[in-house]
């Protein structure tokens, strides 16, 4: 048992996964991840090549190039870095390069803000990446290793990104059990170049990426759709296998917490889900049947899984730390498209404001009261303060 920040937990996960090429560009609050990796590599503790690229666009481009030569690759970024590399994020997704990327979730400017918000990562949700979200440093560590297993699974072969809340997870040091190297090696076989969709080999020369007319593009894109369909099973399988290998319960698509008999279920995501659990326990102690469902995987979106977990509840409160202007909370609305009863959507924690245990407790109460009044399908900005900006 050691103590490590969420960021360092990721770096150690990358080491356990034996990533071979790391191309990354610094950005607060991701820097710890790559600084630790640079240190591990330069001190000889880890065998990998670190490419000091000049931007995130180049970071992802370099990862794509390296992956195309059979190397296991890693990058990490945040907010503006992710937006700046967006073109290449799509390139990796549509080109099916099984790259793994950590995203420390941070608010997009202007004005400059380095604090927690999930919109940065969610804005890439159409890019053909598997997307996950961690709830603790331990999970960040475990998810890093799991991400490679999922990405490189022959049934999937899509890149994986996973999120860490800025500071509250990225910089918070917590108890961490490292995955033994042997356990990691058993769980995650070496990358087989033969299995890669794109492999650059002069002995078997192919051209990747030249024009494809409307005659076949749709069929190739459908293959990606199918891969995402299979990914659900692969994710659950990877979580089960890693649970067995580590003795720690790993979550795949969603995490259910006391939701089976709950009257009010909060749908939460990220590090604040822990605060939500504490709130659920308090509510239960107060006699209110509360429960939580946590979105661990965002793509493929676990719509059916969420729907079945909240089926019995009177009120579903979806808490979004993100927003799509002119639409609503992204998880809130995406989940709503699967639910027969309209949920309540709480927009909270925008721009880095904390969502506390107390907030979750009140949200649950508010949702129950709203449901009793028959007020569903409403969006509420939670925790707004007086504003005389």
């Amino acid at each position: 048992m050691i103590i490590a920040t969420g960021n360092h937990a990721v770096s150690y996960g990358v080491r356990a996964a034996r990533a071979e090429v790391i191309a990354a560009y610094p950005i607060t609050p991701q820097t710890q991840i790559i600084e630790k990796l640079a240190e591990l590599i330069q001190s000889g503790e880890m065998r990998a090549k670190y490419i000091r690229v000049e931007s995130e666009h180049s970071a992802m481009s370099a990862c794509i190039g390296a992956e195309a030569c059979g190397a296991r690759t890693f990058t990490a970024t945040s907010s503006h870095g992710l937006a700046y590399m967006s073109e290449m994020v799509f390139w990796a997704g549509m080109g099916r390069f099984p790259i793994v990327m950590a995203v420390v979730n941070r608010t997009l400017a202007p004005p400059w803000s380095i604090w927690n918000e999930h919109t940065d990562m969610l804005a890439q949700r159409d890019s053909g990446w598997i997307m996950m979200m961690c709830g603790s440093a331990q999970e960040a560590h475990d998810t890093t290793v799991m991400a490679y297993r999922i990405a490189e699974d022959e049934r999937v072969l899509q890149p994986v990104m996973f999120g860490l809340d800025a500071f509250s997870l990225s910089h918070t040091a917590e108890n961490l059990e490292l995955i033994d190297q042997e356990v990691a090696d058993g769980f995650l076989p070496p990358l087989n170049p033969e299995s890669l969709p794109v492999y650059m080999d002069p002995d078997n020369p192919v051209t990747f990426g030249n024009l494809l007319g409307p005659d076949k593009m749709m069929e190739f894109r459908h293959l990606i759709k199918e891969a995402f369909g299979r990914a659900k099973g692969v994710i659950e399988e990877a979580a089960k296998d890693l649970s067995n290998a580590t003795g720690r319960k790993q979550h795949g698509l969603i995490e259910d917490y006391r939701s089976s008999d709950a009257e009010v279920v909060i749908l939460a995501m990220g590090a604040s889900s822990g605060d939500c659990k504490d709130a659920v326990d308090i509510l239960r102690d107060e006699g209110i049947k509360a429960g939580m469902v946590r979105v661990k995987t965002i793509r493929p979106f676990p719509g059916e899984e969420i729907a079945s977990s909240v089926r019995g509840a009177k009120a579903v409160a979806i808490v979004d730390r993100d927003y799509s202007y002119g639409f609503g909370g992204i998880i809130g609305r995406e989940a709503a498209s699967y639910l027969s009863k309209k949920p309540l959507n709480y927009i909270a924690g925008i721009g880095g404001r904390d969502i506390t245990v107390e907030d979750f407790r009140k949200i649950a109460e508010d949702a129950l009261a709203s449901a009793e009044r028959g007020e569903l399908g409403i969006e509420k900005w939670w925790g707004m303060r007086g504003f005389e900006g």
């Binding site: 180049s58 481009s61 370099a62 650059m200 051209t207």
Partner: protein
């Protein structure tokens, strides 16, 4: 010196591709791959060279091509070099092949970054002096006076001097070339192939539809660029400039043909005012003066 006889008969870039008739870039790809041979991986961003490959499921290339996004040539190549290295895959040459837009404009960040890291690949910019693939819009490499669809009266600014910019990066090797002199170009590719680090070659590639001249004049136009001194053939290595090919004989202004002969061959310079021609001629002359200084001549 590489002679015609040194070039293998085998083609690595096959006929029946989608290049325009008379395309200098297609010719030069052919030549470069003859030198580099089959153990090559080519990185190509959005540009004519990506379209020349034609449609899936066929490609004219006998060596693997990694197409990449417009801005990403040098970064993708850096990744490929790293991937080959960590996998212990030796003896493979990596070449970036990009247009002037993909080099001088949107791609310069990645190129400059790879240059500073001195990544081990060859970067060739085939310069047709505009965004040709999208239909002849001005790039920063479009020369002053040339008409494009976004500079209908002719471009006002001078051509960005990318080879000089790359020299300022202090690379192991920088050279200019011209598609009309394939053996000079081949020689430079061959030299680059033997060095470690980032080697940069800037290749002037006359483009019949973009520059508006008949296809059969491609070589003549390219030669005129050199013989008028508008385009100087040189190498830079270890801090030293060396003129190559016909440029060697052109230090003396009297030996150079008047620039207007070159301009007159091309529709993109049609109706260019006499004063502008003179200004352009002065640009050429002063470029040579600067070159003389650099040569220490």
């Amino acid at each position: 010196m590489i002679t015609l006889k040194d070039l293998p008969v085998e083609e690595y870039y096959l006929p029946g591709n989608a290049a325009c008739s008379g395309c200098a870039s297609a010719l030069s790809t052919r030549i470069a791959l003859k030198i580099l041979g089959p153990k090559t991986i080519v990185v190509i961003p959005a540009c004519c060279a990506s379209v020349i490959q034609g449609y899936y499921p066929k490609s004219p290339s006998k060596v693997p091509i990694m197409n990449t996004a417009f801005a990403a040539t040098a970064a993708t190549a850096s990744g490929i070099v790293a991937g080959l290295e960590v996998k212990g895959r030796k003896g493979i040459t990596v070449m970036g092949w990009a247009g002037d837009g993909g080099t001088a404009d949107i791609g310069i960040q990645a190129l400059s970054g790879a240059a500073e890291r001195n990544e081990d690949f060859i970067y060739i910019c085939y310069d047709n002096e505009a965004y040709m693939n999208t239909g002849t819009q001005s790039s920063s490499a479009t020369p002053r006076g040339a008409k494009t669809t976004t500079a209908v009266m002719g471009k006002g600014e001078r051509k960005k001097d990318v080879p000089e910019i790359m020299i300022a990066h202090d690379l192991p090797y920088v050279a200019t070339a011209c598609a009309a002199y394939p053996l000079d170009f081949a020689e430079k590719v061959s030299k680059a192939m033997k060095l470690k680090g980032l080697k940069y070659i800037h290749l002037l590639s006359p483009c019949p539809p973009g520059w508006r001249f008949p296809t059969e004049k491609m070589v003549e136009v390219g030669k005129a660029a050199v013989m008028t001194g508008a385009w100087i053939l040189y190498e830079w290595e270890g801090g030293k400039y060396t003129l190559t090919g016909p440029s060697k004989g052109l230090i003396d202004k009297a030996k150079r043909r008047p620039l207007k002969e070159y301009l007159a061959m091309q529709g993109r310079f049609s109706k260019i005012p006499e004063a502008e021609v003179e200004a352009l001629q002065r640009d050429v002359d002063s470029k040579w003066e600067a070159m003389k200084k650099k040569l220490g001549a």
